[in-house]
Amino acid sequence: MKLRNKEKDVIALLNKAQRENKHNYITEDKLKLTAQEAGLSYSEVYGVATFYSLFSLKPRGEYVIQVCDSGPCHLMGSKSIFKVLEKELKIKVGETTADGRFTLEEVSCLGICNEAPAMMINEKVCGNLTPQKIREILRELRKKK
C-alpha cells in the first residue's frame, strides 16, 4: 500500500536500524526495508535519513566520538579538544580510523553546557574535557575488545 500510513515511524525505524548495525550506520537494504515498512518512497526515506545528523549512511567506527562545537563548548576550548583527538586518532573530523574503531564528528549542542567542553561517545556524554581526560578515555576504550 503506497498510501502513507506508517510514515510517522520512519525515524524510529531508522534509529533501530542504525543501533543494530555494528558499524553505526544504516545500510541500503535497511533504507529499502524502512521505505516499505513506513509506506514511503526511496527518495523520501533517503531524504529523511540524510536530514538528521544522528544518522549515517556510511559505515562508522565502533565508537563514534561527537564533539560539540556550539557556543559554550567553543568558548571553553572545543578546538583544542578536536586537536587532541585528531592527533591521538590520526584522523580528521568526519573520518574513521583505519582499524574501524573510532569515528570523529563535529556536532551541535549536547545539552551539558555547564560542563563544556563536552562530547558524546556512542550514547555516553562526557563533559569538562581536558586533553588529559581525553587521553584517559581513549586509553580505556582501546583496552576494551
Binding site: K2, L31, L40, S43, E44, Y46, T50
Partner: protein, 895 residues
C-alpha cells in the same frame, strides 16, 4: 461565492475568499517575482521572492502563502522589497556557476529573467566554483545539478501529479541537493519518464535530453494540438524548429490533462520524422514493392476495386477505418465505403476493444460512451476501477487516481486479476479469476440489495425490469461468488459496502471487462451496479469506459461501424437511411455489414475479395494472427494506407502514404466525448498526403466526386447529419472543445449524460448469469494467458516502437509469470521460453513477478517479434463480436 475586495499597488481588485495574494495578483495580470510557486502544485513558500508588504502589518509576507482579506492593501514592490529580492537572487547565483551560454533553458529561464529584471550585474558574495557532473542515465531526462536552485517544484510535481515520489531533497542546509531514489541514477529508480519535472523546472536543471542543442526557445514555432496516443485527449504544445518537432509541453488549459502528460505524450513524437516514414505510394510487382506516382497508384486502386465490385458484387469488398485518424476522415471513409463500395462492410479496431461497451451501455442506458467527464473523478467518494491498468494505459488518468487516493481522500476499489500499480493505492483490492466478472459484480449487488444499501428511489423512478434482475442476483451469495471468482467473502462484502454507501460512486473499466466472450454481459452488469446505487446522471458518478485510441470514440461516433451511420443511427432503419441517401444523393445498402473478425473470416473463405485498410494493423492487433495472415493473403486486392510499412502493409498490393497527426487538421473525440481541434504543425513528409484527401481522390476515381476544401467543411456536413454532433463546428472548438451530445449551435455540450432521464428513457436492468470463458486451461495447455499493454508502447507499436526513447526504455516483449510457476518450470528471469496455444506459438523472454497469480501468465501485444496475438483466441462475444483476448489457454516450455 464569497468575495473580498482589496487593493494591490493601489489597484482595486476582487477575489474569491481563501485565495492567496499570489493567485489574485496573477489573475489580475500583476507580476510578483517567484520561483517556487507554480499553479497546480502545493505551496512551498520557500523561495521568498514573492515577499510583499501589507499595510498595517509589520515586515513583509510571502504572497504565495498569505490569504487575501477584505480591505487588504498590498504593495508588491518598493525599494526595500526590491533590495531584498535582489539579494536573494544574488544568493542563488552565488551557489553555482550559472552558465547561460549553452543552457537549454536560455530564453525561457525564470532565474535568468529575474536576474535581468532586477538588474543584477555583480554578485557581492563569494561564488562557489565546484561543478557537479550532469546525470544522463534516463532516456529522456537530463539532470544538471549545477543549475538546480532547489525550488522543489519537480519534487512536488513528481509526488503530486505523477505520484511517483522519485525525487526528493537529501541532506540539509547549504548541503541540500536533489536526489532520485536512494541517490541513484534516474534509470535505476521508479521514474516513469513522464517529464512533469522538466515541464515545471524554472531553470535548466531538468531538460529534455534528446532536445539538447536542437533549438532554443525563441527559435521554436509553437503549435497547440492533441496527443495522438491514447484516448485521454491531452492537449499538447509542439515546439517546432525547421519543421521538426523538438519538444512537447502539456497545455495547462487542456481540460482533461491540465498540463500533464505521460512519457508517450511528451517524448514519443520522433516517429513523425522517422526514416521509415512512407513518402511515396508503393505498388507490388512480383512480390516486391516499387515506388509509384500518386496518379498511378490511385488509378490502380480505383480500377481494381471497381473490377472486383463488378465481378463479385459490393459485399465482396470491405474497409477498415482507423481510430487514429480524425473524425472527418472516419466520416469520409465510411461514406466512401457505403457509397463507392456499396456495402456496410466497414469497421475498425473499436470492435476489438469496446464493442461490448457500446453494445452493453446502449442497451442499458441508450448511449454507449463514458457517462461522465475525467475532471469529475475528484468529486467521487469511491472509484471502482476494474479491468483497467490505468496507470499504464491511460497514464494521465491513472496518475490522477493515485493523486486522488493520496491527497483527496477518494477511496479506490480495484478489481483486477493482476497486481497492477493501482492496487497499491486501493483501499480494497479484489483479485478475481480472469473471466469471472459477472459473478463478482452480481455478488456485490447481492450484498448491496440484502443490506438495503441500494437507492430505492432511483430504482423505482428511473429504471425498469428491477424485479427480474433481482431474481438472478439473489442467487449470487458471497459464498457462491467466492467459489467462482476466488474473491474472499468478507472482502467482497467490504467492497459492496464501500461502493454501496458512497454518495458518489464512479465505475471505471477498460479491456479487462470488454475483451471477453461475455464482454457485453460484463458491461451490462456494471451498468446494473451503477443504476442500483443511483450512480448515474450526477457529477462524479457513472459508468466510465476508458477508450484506448486517441480517436476511437470519434471513429465510432462517425459511423465507421457496420450497423450504424454517424451518430449511432441504425443502418437498418429506413427513415434514417433515406435521410443519408437524400443528403449524399445515392442509394445505400440496407443490410448491416461485417465486423473486423468476420471480415477476416470472410476473406479466408474467399467471400471478401478486396479490402481497403486505413491506419490499422490487424497483423498484430487481431486475435489468432495465423488466421489473419491466411485471410489477408487470400484477398485478390489489398490496399493499405498508413504512415509506415506495417506488418499488414507488407501484405498489401498497393500502399498509400498517409500523414501523421502533426501534418493535418481535423478533430479527435476523446474518451469523455470531448471533440477537440487538431492543428497542422508541419507539412506532409515527402509525397505523403492527408488521409482525407486520399479518400477523396479514390472516391472521385470511383465515380463519386467529393469536393471538400477543408476538414471544417466536412464537420459542417457531419453536424447536419449527426444529431449528437449537431452543434459542432470548427469555430466553436477553440480551448475546451465540446462534449457531445451537442445538438445545436447554442448548446454548450454535455459533461455528463443521463441527467434527469436516460437517453433511452428509463434505465434498463438486465438479468445476467455467469458464463465461464470459452477456453480455459486444461492438461495440455495449463496456463491462462491474459494480454495487455505497457506504459511505454502503444497498440501494435507502429508508432511507439519507432520512437527512440520509448523503444529504448522498453525494447522487447516479455511473459509475466508468477514465482511459483517459474520455480516449477525451472526458469529464471530473462530466460527464453516457448509459449504455444491451439492456434500458434512464439518465443519470448520471461519476467518473474508477483503481478500475476499462479497459473496465470501475461503478455503485451506490442511486439512483432513475440506477437501475443499468435496465441489468442478468436472466440467472440455473441452480441458485440469482440474477441476474448483476456483469456486463452497456453503451455510454456523452457528452451
Amino acid at each position: 461565492m464569497n468575495t473580498v475586495n482589496l487593493t494591490i499597488n493601489g489597484k482595486l481588485v476582487q477575489a474569491e475568499k481563501g485565495s492567496t495574494i499570489m493567485e489574485v495578483a496573477l489573475a489580475n495580470g500583476i507580476k510578483i517575482p517567484h520561483l517556487c510557486y507554480e499553479k497546480g502544485l502545493s505551496i512551498a513558500g520557500s523561495c521568498r521572492l514573492c515577499m510583499v508588504k501589507i499595510k498595517g502589518r509589520p515586515g513583509m509576507e510571502a504572497a504565495c502563502t498569505t490569504e487575501v482579506v477584505e480591505k487588504m492593501k498590498v504593495i508588491t514592490s518598493d525599494e526595500e522589497i526590491d533590495e531584498a529580492r535582489k539579494l536573494i537572487v544574488e544568493l542563488i547565483l552565488s551557489e553555482h556557476k550559472h552558465d547561460c551560454l549553452v543552457c537549454e533553458s536560455n530564453g525561457q529561464c525564470e532565474l535568468q529573467d529575474l536576474a535581468y529584471e532586477l538588474g543584477i550585474e555583480k554578485i557581492r558574495f563569494p561564488v562557489s566554483k565546484s561543478i557537479e557532473p550532469t546525470e544522463d542515465s534516463s532516456q529522456v531526462i537530463l539532470k544538471d545539478p549545477n543549475k538546480c536552485i532547489l525550488c522543489g517544484r519537480c519534487v512536488r510535481a513528481c509526488a503530486e501529479i505523477t505520484v511517483q515520489r522519485v525525487l526528493d531533497f537529501a541532506a540539509r542546509g547549504s548541503g541540500t541537493f536533489l536526489i532520485s531514489g536512494l541517490d541513484q541514477p534516474l534509470v535505476d529508480t521508479d521514474c516513469v519518464s513522464c517529464g512533469a519535472c522538466i515541464q515545471t523546472c524554472p531553470t535548466g536543471a531538468l531538460t529534455e535530453k534528446l532536445a539538447r542543442f536542437q533549438g532554443r526557445s525563441w527559435e521554436f514555432r509553437k503549435v497547440q494540438t492533441i496527443c495522438p496516443y491514447c484516448g485521454v485527449g491531452c492537449q499538447i504544445e509542439l515546439n517546432i524548429k525547421n519543421d521538426k518537432i523538438v519538444k512537447v509541453y502539456g497545455v495547462e488549459e487542456g481540460p482533461d490533462n491540465k498540463g500533464h502528460l505521460c512519457v508517450k505524450g511528451r517524448f514519443g513524437f520522433d516517429y513523425v520524422h522517422h526514416k521509415d516514414r512512407l513518402t511515396t505510394p508503393l505498388i507490388k510487382h512480383n512480390g516486391k514493392f516499387e515506388e509509384a506516382s500518386w496518379d498511378g497508384a490511385l488509378n490502380l486502386v480505383a480500377t481494381k476495386f471497381k473490377e472486383l465490385k463488378d465481378k463479385y458484387g459490393s459485399d465482396a469488398l470491405a474497409g477498415l477505418s482507423s481510430a487514429k485518424c480524425t473524425n472527418e476522415e472516419n466520416y469520409l471513409f465510411q461514406k466512401f465505403i457505403r457509397i463507392c463500395f456499396g456495402t456496410n462492410n466497414v469497421d475498425h479496431c473499436a470492435r476489438l476493444c469496446h464493442a461490448s461497451t457500446v453494445a452493453g451501455l446502449s442497451r442499458a442506458f441508450g448511449s454507449g460512451a463514458m457517462t461522465n467527464s475525467i475532471w469529475e473523478f475528484e468529486k467521487a467518494d469511491v472509484i471502482l476501477v476494474t479491468g483497467s491498468n490505468t496507470t499504464e494505459t491511460h497514464p494521465v488518468i491513472g496518475n490522477y487516481f493515485k493523486h486522488l487516493a493520496a491527497y483527496n481522500g477518494t477511496k479506490l476499489i480495484v478489481v483486477d486479476p493482476r497486481a497492477i500499480e493501482l492496487t497499491e493505492y486501493a483501499e480494497i483490492w479484489l483479485r478475481q479469476k480472469s473471466g469471472t466478472d459477472v459473478a463478482w459484480i452480481n455478488g456485490l449487488m447481492n450484498v448491496i440489495i440484502n443490506e438495503g444499501l441500494y437507492n430505492k428511489e432511483f430504482v423505482e423512478n428511473r429504471t425498469e425490469n428491477f424485479d427480474e434482475f433481482r431474481k438472478v442476483v439473489s442467487k449470487y451469495t458471497p459464498g457462491k461468488v467466492e467459489k467462482i471468482t476466488g474473491i474472499p467473502e468478507e472482502k467482497l462484502i467490504a467492497a459492496a459496502r464501500m461502493y454501496g454507501k458512497a454518495d458518489r460512486g464512479s465505475i471505471v473499466f477498460a479491456m479487462g471487462i470488454t475483451q471477453h466472450t461475455t464482454g457485453t454481459d460484463n458491461v451490462l452488469s456494471l451498468a446494473n451496479l451503477a443504476m442500483l446505487c443511483g450512480n448515474v446522471g450526477r457529477e462524479g458518478t457513472g459508468v466510465n469506459p476508458l477508450r484506448g485510441q486517441n480517436n476511437v470514440q470519434g471513429a465510432c461516433d462517425l459511423g465507421a461501424l457496420p450497423d450504424v451511420y454517424p451518430g449511432y443511427q441504425k443502418v437498418s432503419k429506413a427513415q434514417v437511411r433515406e435521410n443519408f441517401e437524400t443528403t449524399w444523393g445515392v442509394k445505400l445498402p440496407p443490410k448491416e455489414g461485417l465486423t473486423v473478425v468476420e471480415i477476416i473470416d470472410a476473406a479466408s473463405k474467399g467471400e471478401i475479395k478486396g479490402l481497403y485498410i486505413m491506419g490499422e494493423n490487424p497483423m498484430l492487433s487481431d486475435p489468432n494472427l495465423n488466421h489473419v495472415r491466411e485471410g489477408l493473403e487470400n484477398l485478390d486486392f489489398l490496399v493499405v494506407q498508413d504512415i509506415f510499412l506495417t506488418e499488414t502493409a507488407e501484405l498489401a498490393d498497393v500502399v498509400l502514404p498517409g500523414v501523421s497527426f502533426a501534418e493535418k487538421e481535423g478533430t479527435f473525440t476523446n474518451t469523455c466525448r470531448r471533440i477537440q481541434l487538431l492543428h497542422k504543425a508541419i507539412p506532409p513528409i515527402g509525397k505523403s498526403r492527408e488521409d482525407w484527401k486520399i479518400i477523396m481522390e479514390i472516391s472521385k476515381r470511383m465515380g463519386y466526386p467529393m469536393a471538400y476544401h477543408s476538414p471544417g467543411e466536412i464537420m459542417d456536413e457531419i453536424a447536419s447529419l449527426t444529431p449528437i454532433y449537431g452543434g459542432v463546428h470548427f469555430d466553436r472548438l477553440g480551448g475546451q472543445g465540446l462534449q457531445w451530445p451537442c445538438p445545436s449551435r447554442e448548446h454548450p455540450g454535455t459533461p455528463y449524460l443521463h441527467k434527469d432521464k436516460f437517453t433511452r428513457g428509463k434505465g434498463l436492468f438486465t438479468p445476467v448469469d455467469y458464463i465461464p470463458p470459452a477456453e480455459l486451461p486444461d492438461e495440455e495447455y495449463p496456463f491462462l494467458l491474459s494480454t495487455g499493454r505497457v506504459l511505454y508502447h502503444f497498440h501494435t507499436g507502429s508508432l511507439s516502437r519507432r520512437s527512440k526513447p520509448l523503444d529504448g526504455i522498453a525494447p522487447e516483449g516479455f511473459l509475466e509469470i508468477s514465482p511459483q510457476d517459474a520455480k516449477k518450470l525451472r526458469i529464471k528471469n530473462n530466460d527464453w521460453v516457448r509459449v504455444s496455444s491451439r492456434r500458434g506459438k512464439l518465443k519470448v523472454k520471461v519476467k518473474i513477478t508477483h503481478h500475476v497469480d499462479k497459473g496465470v501468465v501475461f503478455m503485451t501485444f506490442h511486439f512483432a517479434e513475440s506477437a501475443a496475438n499468435l496465441l489468442t483466441s478468436d472466440a467472440l462475444d455473441p452480441v458485440a463480436k469482440i474477441p476474448e483476448y483476456k483469456v486463452s489457454a497456453v503451455k510454456i516450455e523452457r528452451i
